[in-house]
């Protein structure tokens, strides 16, 4: 496989795809591809071993499937309790939302806000943004590609923060385990919730932001600048 460090590309700005190059998704190595083949297998990156694709495979279908799966799991994740708290004979079950309400009721606004943002707002926001991006790509939209790419980067970065609630349950069940005096048991809601977080993370990883740009030709006024 021929790797490309420096190659003569047309004077006008071009994409790697148009220049018949494959860009390794991990190490950014450029590899020349046969001009006739635009899809299919191109083997592995000679430098880091990652599988090479022109675009992430089945990006649209895969992202849709993961979005829908995450939506389905989102329902039990919010309905089924995540913990059961036993304290001196009284038993109380908590869902994600009741945890938020508890913090609001006791006046702990910052914590309520953290939990609400991480567990409810971010998963919904991620699913909405990803659906919007996939639909816009399916409709060959040319609308504000730079802003849509920015939205994708946000989705990619914030996803991990939804795990906060899973970690809270981990710590609670570890600490509060003193028999009849005080005890916290994990409930299956936390599994569904973890599944939502995982599925949305995989959905974001499966989407290829380059599809946003594939509909348009690179603009001539674009000039590169090394360093800022």
């Amino acid at each position: 496989m021929e790797t490309v460090e420096d190659v003569l590309i047309p004077e006008t700005v071009a994409t790697a795809k148009a220049a018949f190059l494959l860009s390794c998704p991990v190490c950014h190595l450029l590899v020349r591809r046969p001009p006739e083949a635009s899809t299919g297998l191109f083997g592995r990156c000679p430098r880091c071993g990652e599988t090479l694709h022109l675009r992430k495979p089945n990006s649209i279908a895969r992202t849709w499937a993961l979005i829908i799966a995450a939506l389905i799991f989102y329902i039990p994740a919010n309905l089924i309790p995540i913990t059961t708290v036993t304290s001196l004979g009284s038993v109380q079950t908590d869902t994600i939302m009741s945890g938020v309400i508890y913090f609001i009721a006791t006046g702990m606004w910052p914590i309520a806000l953290i939990i609400f943002t991480a567990s409810i707002f971010i998963p919904v926001l991620k699913l909405l943004i990803l659906s919007f991006l996939v639909i816009s790509v399916q409709r060959h939209s040319g609308w504000r590609p730079k802003d849509r790419t920015r939205l994708y980067r946000i989705v990619e970065t914030i996803g991990r923060w939804s795990m906060v609630d899973v970690f809270v349950v981990t710590i609670l069940v570890a600490l509060v385990h003193l028999g009849a005096l005080a005890n916290v048991e994990p409930r299956s809601g936390v599994i569904y919730f973890a599944a939502v977080v995982l599925l949305t993370m995989f959905a974001a990883m499966g989407f290829d932001p380059r599809l946003i740009w594939d509909v348009k030709e690179p603009e001539d006024e674009c000039e590169y600048f090394p360093g800022t």
Partner: protein, 201 residues
């Protein structure tokens, strides 16, 4: 021109000719604004030192209790692994695995693989599979969630504060230090510089 090379933008596929980037500078995509490459001073030495510190902290943080819980004279001190074990016992092995992976295995692997890649670069020797393993350092990044775990610790402390007495234990401070060390380690890493060595190996 010499020292110029070609990079395709990760997010929009546009090709860029990037010349040698001065230390501490970054190159961004002119079309979508994505970071193309960054150049960092003493990257290898600094990242290696921080990775070593991170390894010690990670081991310490998981060897000692990080929180204590005291109610009516009874108390309990727990490790991070205690919670994972309780998930496992409660019939949630996959959840146990997920938490174990994101808070322990992923950061540990990341540190170990990073050392395996950086040590030979520092010494100027070659280890087998360096570049293939460096790929995993990059891919593990999104699964290492120490800082998210720390927010979980804070929320838990506030949540339990009304119910009982919460005692911060030694390992908690190791966790806090670990987060800063890991963040500094990843910030000082210059992947571009490491990938560039491939030709000379």
């Amino acid at each position: 021109m010499k020292n110029e090379h070609l990079i395709a933008c990760h997010d929009c596929d546009l090709l860029h000719r990037v010349s040698e980037i001065p230390d501490g500078m970054s190159a961004y995509c002119c079309r979508c604004g994505a970071l193309l490459a960054q150049s960092k001073r003493n990257s290898v030495e600094r990242t290696l030192a921080l990775a070593l510190a991170g390894l010690f902290l990670l081991i310490l943080a998981n060897s000692f209790p990080f929180l204590g819980f005291k109610i009516q004279g009874q108390s309990r001190h727990v490790l991070l692994l205690t919670g994972i074990r309780r998930f496992y016992i409660s019939g949630m092995p996959w959840l146990a695995l997920l938490v174990l992976f994101t808070t322990f295995i992923a950061p540990l692997l990341q540190i170990l693989l990073l050392m395996y890649v950086l040590l030979p670069l520092y010494l100027g020797v070659k280890f087998p599979g360096m570049f293939v393993l460096f790929r995993w350092v990059q891919k593990l990044g999104s699964w290492s969630m120490m800082e998210v775990f720390m927010v979980g610790v804070l929320v838990s402390i506030v949540k339990l504060a009304k119910m009982a007495q919460i005692i911060p234990d030694v390992a908690l401070f190791c966790f806090m230090a670990l987060i800063f060390v890991l963040a500094a380690c990843m910030a000082s890493l210059d992947p571009h510089q490491i990938w560039k060595q491939w030709k000379t190996y």
